[in-house]
Chain length 229, copies 4
């Protein structure tokens, strides 16, 4: 079932390892077969070097395992919240990558300090508020999704393809799981650059909106000129 998506989800998880974004069994990536209403996600706590497409777990959008003998990643409910939030989200990735996690632990959004950032985000990479004790105690993983969506507000999820969960780490998403991994790599790089930026100049400010828009719309939307036709 969903052989091609299983393969893509496995590859996405392995790419997280190759890019240095995960330690041990940290992190998880999933993809959505929207027509079927099925999620393919990494199993919980299985070493990356042993994973095959057959280890991927298939669940429905209520989180019930449809195929597979393994438990899905504990963060499944957060992934599902994102899939349900927008018809355009087809992949979700969560890591504890070092620099992005440091911003999440610091409880600060990553400001749009430069064009590298603007090439991917039309503004800061936001950070959620801390979850309340009640949100943590019951349905924690689903409430993590609620916190992300609360911070997204009325924006479509794809217009802001990543967020830091307060005290936790980055969640990233995209039209496909492959895109979501790409975004996870970028967020880690932006987090590293921003950390150094404020060390070099504690009064550093985000770039002007004109520059932000120029870079963002060179790469995104109808007027994009980056890349090949």
């Amino acid at each position: 079932m969903l052989e091609s998506l299983r393969a893509e989800v496995l590859e996405a998880n392995l790419e997280l390892v190759r890019r240095g974004l995960v330690l041990y069994t940290f992190g998880n990536a999933s993809g959505l077969a929207r027509a079927e209403g099925l999620v393919v996600i990494k199993p919980s706590g299985v070493p990356y070097n042993e994973m095959t497409p057959a280890h991927m777990v298939v669940t429905d959008l209520k989180g019930r395992v449809v195929e597979g003998n393994l438990r899905p990643s504990t963060d499944l409910a957060t992934h599902i919240a994102l899939y349900l939030s927008s018809p355009r989200v087809g992949g979700v990735v969560h890591t504890h990558s070092r620099h992005a996690t440091a911003w999440a632990q610091a409880g600060r959004e990553i400001p749009c300090f430069g064009t590298t950032h603007a090439d991917y985000f039309h503004g800061a990479v936001p950070v959620t508020e801390a979850l309340s004790p009640a949100e943590v105690e019951t349905a924690y993983e689903a409430n993590t999704g609620v916190a992300i969506l609360r911070t997204l507000g009325t924006r479509d999820a794809l217009s802001c393809p990543a967020m830091l969960v307060h005290g936790h780490g980055p969640f990233c998403w995209g039209a496909t799981v492959t895109e979501a991994v790409h975004t996870a790599v970028i967020v880690e790089e932006l987090a590293a650059m921003a950390w150094m930026t404020i060390a070099i100049n504690p009064a550093a400010t985000p770039i002007a909106l004109s520059l932000r828009d120029k870079h963002h719309f060179r790469k995104h939307g109808a007027t994009a000129t980056y890349g090949q036709k």
Copy 2:
């Protein structure tokens, strides 16, 4: 004697090298054969690329060499203090890994700034007090163990599987030496993230106890849901 433990201890020492936690002959890992009351430990000052299981030194719990022609690691007495402190400790690792050592040198515990940390520790990674001149001058390595146990207080060692020794570096332990190495890798990562966290937000605070407990007990204890059954 203890062939399988010798192999595991060697492998643990080599894993420290592969994970980038040791330079040259820094660091040491040991394992305990509790039934026999014997410790298998890395020899002192032997290059990692020359070590074989036969180089591992076997001692009793008074630190006397039982098998082997080489001197054991100078830190043997600290390892033994941990083995004697709890019937559950089966492996001990000491490194001078860069970030964790920086916290030890700074004389600060590593606060529980995020869920990555809470997944492994139920609170800060503590730091000992500095040893007194008298403790340093006589039985220094044993007194390092005393300082660790003093800071542990009434807690069982496995409930807090690592500590920073003031002005020195991290000691980590676990049910096995393999687990202790895993913890040493995690402590280094937590130390790196925490260093960046306070640079990004000098007023960063530990996560709420509810979030800490949720993550900790997703992975530890009777109610754990992480990983496979």
Copy 3:
């Protein structure tokens, strides 16, 4: 057409990857065939591991594609501005390398804190002013070149072979594209060292002019003694 320059430009782009200066399709390098008035530049958004010399795009000095089916790098107009500014510039490189970009985002020049720096630059690595909204909205890439030349002032471009573009990242140049890549690697290293220098001593000052000149002219100009005759 220009087979040897195509090969050199490809190699220069690949060297940026090997040196860790670019992520994904970030960065671009070009070379000039001055006699022919032709620029050979990396195509926009093509993965590095798929590029061959045939993918390089040949344009004239007005930015019109002369040979090749691919779009040139979006930053072409900035490269051309540098080629037109000095008869000695034969190669241009742009990266978003991590440390140099952090200085650009911080809006600060990299001070000449040591002899490593003075070996390559006769003073700070300058940073441009931020472009005005009007400069960003129309002919942005050409205006980026204008901003660089404005900051260069009356200096010949080769006397200051790199600059940080405010809120963006480093542009580097040289007599050849191979030299420009070498400079890009050096600028990244200088940026890293300078970042740590001001962390260690916020009051750090540039080295004395006598030391700066001694090092610079050991390696550059008629009195150079570095290297082989």
Copy 4:
């Protein structure tokens, strides 16, 4: 001539590359044949991947080339100053390794913040004063040696086997060039740890003298217990 020393000096230079201490042709290592009064040193500006033992340059202790067609490293005179300062110095290494150079650029000694440091140095890694303009203008490289010796004072060079030259970078030495390279690797590590230590705790202080002495004399001198007999 001096085939075995040529091989050791080449290997020492290559080890600097493998350990990540040098970029391009930065850095240099030399060894002394004291009985013959001859220095074997890396040639200036030759890429490391092309160097063979035959490229090493042999000079006398006045810096005159005795064998070889290549120019010696520009820093030869500094190496010679160290060889002449103590009958025990047999190897000298100079790098621009990133963290140690940052401390040199900051103009600060590296405090003895921990036992890793004390294992190698009996106190801080000192930094020289800045050279005067007159010292820079004439016999600069020899005067760099003078500045090092001035800061050493009455200590034997081997009792303090490294120093930061103000605004420049580390010089390291030892009984052999192999030892000097080892020290260069350690100094870089100590510099990295110390940089993070003061970021974590700006009020961090050196370890107590009792702890410093305990560690130092576990590894050095007549009472050493580290390593094998």
